[in-house]
Every structure is written in structure tokens, then in C-alpha cells.
């Protein structure tokens, strides 16, 4: 049997090609290692002596950048084309995702990290293809983005089995995701679980997303009502299309575990949310009853 490239030949040119790709992507070593799903230490160790890389890491790189293995192996990649492809994806989100942008890419980025951790890279590649965007776009998480982006994510997810479970886990993880220091400082200043919930609507609107208006009412010792009202642009969106409205209603699957878990960031027990109504199912607002856990026992947050 004939093997067209010897293993030695492949090893020899592997690093120069990898280095060129890394330079084009303008990623530092830790970010590039993470992109290839390799521990940073191991990546640095291999790079320092140009040692061979594990096949899975290289295949993941090819998969995410949609590179042809044959061109990669024979060092016949067109770096000019690759550079253009990376650049075009780096700076611009399609217009359909930037009009009326009330959020930033930080939340979808957290979503993708979660998707990557819980499933296979082929699915992530499929996601980028389906939305016709480049993975590079997620490097700038401050980019403004509108609700259509989340909507397309929901549509993509809904086509897959266990979407609800994934979204539940995503909401739960999202509650513990990194946020600006001031987010946790503000939460810490709240001395009771009730006052934590008084400040959560403001924190979500300020630091997480602005597509909805959040508020609480009927605050009592062990319960309160949490209301979420879509802003005008979302109301218009939902009114235009039944399919979009149905998908937007899936946001509850993320929101409920998220709101339940936010207090955990600063040491409180999670709360329990029960859905009372949904705007996307015809109600005037999405409303949830929040039950605080063991309010009489918890006078202060637990140590974390």
C-alpha cells in the first residue's frame, strides 16, 4: 500500500503551518490552545520543541476553520484566502444580527462555550455554518448583537434532541459565568435574599441583556413575583411570526434556571421559580413566582 506523505514529512511541516494559522488568527498561545481544545501547558511544551501534536487537536482546528485536510497536510493552503476568510468573519457580523442591537456577544459566547463543552466540535462547526458566521466573530465579545442572533441559536438548538435540557444546563451555568466585579459586589451588599432579588432585575438589565425589562413585585418573606416584559422591538418581532414567537418562548428554559441560581454566586441557596405566564404564549408579561429556600434559617449568605 502506498502512503503519499511520509510521517516524517508531515511532522516536519506541521508546526510551520500551525504557526502561520495562529498568526493569521492573531491569537495568543492560551487562546489558540483553547481553540484546539488542548491544555495550554501541553500546547506550549509541544510548541517549544516542535513536538508532534495529538491528532484530535489538529482535526478540531481543521473542523472549526473548515480547512481541507489534504491541503493542510501538503502545505498547499492558500493563506491569502484563509486570511481574508478569517478577517471577513472577524470584524463584521451580518447586518441581520446588528440592527436594533440591545445585547452583546458575551452571552452567545458563553452559550457556545457551553455547547462546546457538552457536545462534539462537529456540532459547533455545523452551528457556525448554519448561522453563516465565522468562529472568529466571538473573539470580540463586546460587539452589539440583536435578538435575531439568539433566535437563530434557539432555532438551531430546537432542531436537536434534548435542546431543553441543554438550555436548562446553559441557564444554570450562565448564572455562575464571569461578570464584571461590580455585579458581585452589588449582590454582596444585599443582606437578605429579598434584597438580592430587589437588585437582580437591575443587574440583569445593566450587565447581561437589554431585550427585556425585568422587575419584581409582591415581595414577601418567602416569595415574590418576577416579571419580564419584552421591549418594543421584540414585541414587534413576536407579532410578525408564529414560529419566531414559539422559539422565543423557549427562552424560559434558560431564564428559569438562570434566575434561580444567580444568588448562588454570593453564597445564597438557589431559589425555586415557577412559571405563571408567558408573553409569547399570549400573556401581557412573562411572570414567575420565586420561592426563597429556608428564609427563616438563612439570615446571611453561606460561605463560598
Amino acid at each position: 500500500m502506498q502512503i503519499s506523505h511520509s510521517r516524517v514529512e508531515r511532522d516536519l511541516h506541521l508546526w510551520p503551518v500551525i504557526n502561520k494559522i495562529q498568526a493569521l488568527m492573531r491569537m495568543d498561545n492560551p487562546a489558540f490552545a483553547q481553540f484546539m481544545e488542548m491544555p495550554v501547558k501541553e500546547f506550549l511544551k509541544a510548541k517549544s520543541v516542535a513536538a508532534t501534536l495529538p491528532a484530535f487537536a489538529v482535526c478540531i482546528l481543521l473542523e472549526k476553520l473548515e480547512l481541507d485536510p489534504d491541503l493542510f497536510l501538503s502545505d498547499r493552503l492558500d493563506y491569502h484566502v484563509l486570511s481574508q476568510a478569517l478577517r471577513s468573519g472577524q470584524d463584521t457580523l451580518p447586518k441581520r444580527y446588528t440592527d436594533d442591537a440591545f445585547g452583546t456577544l458575551s452571552t452567545p459566547k458563553a452559550f457556545l462555550d457551553s455547547l462546546l463543552a457538552s457536545s462534539d466540535p462537529a456540532l459547533v462547526t455545523e452551528f457556525f455554518r448554519a448561522l453563516q458566521i465565522s468562529p472568529r466573530i466571538l473573539l470580540n465579545t463586546d460587539q452589539p448583537v440583536n435578538m435575531f442572533f439568539s433566535l437563530d441559536i434557539l432555532k438551531f438548538l430546537n432542531k436537536r434532541a434534548k435542546a431543553e435540557k441543554f438550555m436548562f444546563d446553559f441557564g444554570k451555568k450562565g448564572a455562575r459565568a464571569a461578570r464584571p466585579k461590580v455585579f458581585d459586589l452589588a449582590l454582596r451588599e444585599a443582606k437578605t435574599i429579598q434584597s438580592v432579588y430587589e437588585i437582580i432585575p437591575y443587574l440583569i438589565e445593566t450587565y447581561v441583556e437589554k431585550n427585556f425589562k425585568y422587575s419584581i413585585s409582591d415581595l414577601q418573606a418567602d416569595t415574590c413575583i418576577f416579571s419580564v416584559v419584552p421591549r418594543e422591538h421584540l414585541k414587534e418581532l413576536a407579532a410578525k411570526n408564529d414560529d419566531d414567537r414559539r422559539h422565543l418562548s423557549l427562552l424560559c428554559s434558560v431564564r428559569i434556571p438562570y434566575i434561580e441560581e444567580v444568588p448562588v454566586r454570593v453564597g445564597w441557596l438557589p431559589t425555586k421559580l415557577t412559571k405563571l405566564s408567558c408573553f409569547f404564549e399570549g400573556a401581557s408579561a412573562c411572570r414567575y413566582r420565586v420561592d426563597f429556600m429556608q428564609p427563616s434559617l438563612l439570615q446571611s449568605p453561606l460561605e463560598v
Binding site: 510521517r7 506541521l14 491544555p39 508532534t52 495529538p54 484530535f56 462534539d120 432542531k159 414560529d243 422559539h247
Partner: protein
């Protein structure tokens, strides 16, 4: 090995073992060609070692498989136009399929994997493996989408699922086959994804049914809002033995397959009516599908 390495070593080992068996060569033969020891290959096939980039690509070239296979979780090959009962796609029965399942092989793993996954999830990996072992079917066989097997295997699997209480009238209403994910169809999936309407998707699926199975010969008649999918039974179907309710379950599962596949186009579920059933005395099976 860290957890990421372990995860991918396991995925790659599965594909390596399956690809070698598919090719019909021993570990000794494969390791000689690759220039490594049999011990190393054995460790790679068990997931005890992480394969290097050059060796993996060399392996894929040797076995004629895609280097992406481990990310996909299956081996798919350039699609044959249709199943040919008289011609083996690969060297003769390299997975050592028992006689019971190796005549009139009118189904492929592509069509079976929905039900196999259902059994795998219902019973758990160990019990599913044990089931395959009692049936003398190598579990690696199920990782090659064009692999062919006969209808008796599906009948036996349905029978056992019913005996264990995991498949009954109620569960048949709630099963969600993963065929709503285009990737689950293997290479056929990309053709389905290009469809511009549910009707077009269904047409493409019917056109490609020979790549899933030939136990029934499917055709489609359609109006603006509905499509009638007609499955004419192949003459060799009489060779298989199953209780009537088992074969009727097979037809219901086929309806679920169409329903799930249509969700590639739109997540909305459609209600499919099974209007004629060959196993209930009709001359063919018919499914009325809103499109």
C-alpha cells in the same frame, strides 16, 4: 491523559477498531503497514494512547476513511447508488455477522441507528452491548453507516424492546428519533439540508431511501399540501419471521423516521397518518404527510 485526551482517545479508538475490521485486516497486518508495533496499535484501539497527527492521517489514508470520522462518531463512505443484495460493499462479512442476519440484507446501519440508539438509551450501554453479544453481532458493526444487515435484526430488536417493556403503544407516541439532526443521516444529511421546502426534503429522502433500506420500494405522490409516501414490499420480505404486531411496530417506527427527518427543515412536528399497512393485509404501506 487528561479528560479531553481521554474523551478523544476513546472516540478515535472506536473508529480505528471499526475501520480495521471493515477493511478485514488483523492488528498485525495493520500495524506492519503503519510501521508501529502491534502492542501500540492495540493500545490505540483501546483508547489507552493518544494518536499523533501524522499517524492518524496515515491511518485514515490506509483505511480510506475521513479524518473527521471520530468527530462524527461514525464511518460513512462515498454513497453507493443503492444497496445491491448480490454485491458486498466491503470484503465479505468482515464483522462476522451470523447467518440469521446475513441473508437478504436489505437494511443499512443508516436506517437502523435510530432504533439502535433508542435501545442503547433505554437499556444503557452495557445491556445493549450484552444484547448484541447474545445475537452475535459485533457492536462495532453499528458504527459504519453503509453496513448491510437483514430485516430479521430489526424484528428481533423490536421484539426484545417490547419484552422489556421499553417499546409499547404509549412509547411509540413519544419516541423522538434523532433523524431531525441532519448529521445523524451521515452523508445523506447534507443533501437533505439543502432542501428548500418540506416537500423537497421528503422527495430527496424518498430518492435516497435505497441508501437506508430496500425492504420496501418507496415512491411519493403529492398535492400542494399533502404527500402520500407509498412503500411497496420487496418479494424477499416473506423470508423473515416476526409476529404481526412486531412488523406493525416497524411501520409505525418508519412513520416516526419520516416525521423526525422532516424536522431538519422545520422544528414543527407534523402528524403523519399511516393509512395503509402491508402487515394488516393491504398491498403496500402508505403514509399521508402534510408538507
Amino acid at each position: 491523559m487528561n479528560s479531553t485526551e481521554k474523551k478523544y482517545a476513546a472516540q478515535i479508538s472506536q473508529i480505528m477498531r471499526t475501520a480495521r475490521k471493515l477493511k478485514g485486516i488483523t492488528q498485525i497486518e495493520a500495524s506492519k503497514t503503519l510501521g508501529i508495533t502491534q502492542g501500540t496499535l492495540s493500545k490505540l484501539e483501546k483508547g489507552d494512547l493518544v494518536i499523533s497527527t501524522p499517524l492518524w492521517f496515515e491511518f485514515c489514508e490506509l483505511m480510506k476513511i475521513s479524518s473527521r470520522s471520530f468527530l462524527l462518531g461514525y464511518i460513512d463512505t462515498p454513497l453507493p447508488e443503492s444497496i445491491d443484495l448480490n454485491e458486498e460493499l466491503y470484503p465479505d462479512n468482515t464483522f462476522g455477522l451470523p447467518k440469521r442476519y446475513s441473508y437478504s440484507k436489505g437494511s443499512t446501519v443508516r436506517s437502523l441507528r435510530g432504533l439502535s440508539k433508542y435501545a442503547h438509551d433505554a437499556w444503557g450501554a452495557k445491556k445493549f452491548e450484552a444484547y448484541l453479544e447474545t445475537k452475535k453481532v459485533d457492536s462495532d458493526f453499528l458504527f459504519v453507516l453503509p453496513n448491510q444487515i437483514n430485516l430479521q435484526f430489526t424484528y428481533d430488536l423490536i421484539t426484545t424492546l417490547r419484552e422489556t417493556g421499553d417499546l409499547n403503544k404509549e412509547s411509540l407516541k413519544t419516541i423522538e428519533f434523532p433523524y431531525s439532526d441532519a448529521a445523524f443521516h451521515g452523508q445523506v444529511g447534507s443533501l437533505l439540508e439543502e432542501s428548500k421546502s418540506p416537500k423537497e426534503l421528503l422527495k430527496q429522502l424518498i430518492r435516497d431511501m435505497d441508501r437506508y433500506q430496500i425492504n420496501f420500494n418507496y415512491s411519493m405522490e403529492s398535492s400542494d399540501s399533502e404527500a402520500m409516501v407509498i412503500g411497496k414490499p420487496a418479494p424477499f420480505l416473506a423470508a423473515f419471521d416476526a409476529a404481526r404486531e412486531i412488523s406493525q411496530s416497524l411501520c409505525e417506527l418508519k412513520g416516526l423516521f419520516f416525521e423526525a427527518s422532516l424536522r431538519i427543515f422545520s422544528p414543527q412536528k407534523v402528524k403523519i397518518k399511516h393509512t395503509h399497512c402491508f402487515y394488516k393485509g393491504d398491498s403496500d404501506c402508505r403514509y399521508l404527510i402534510p408538507v
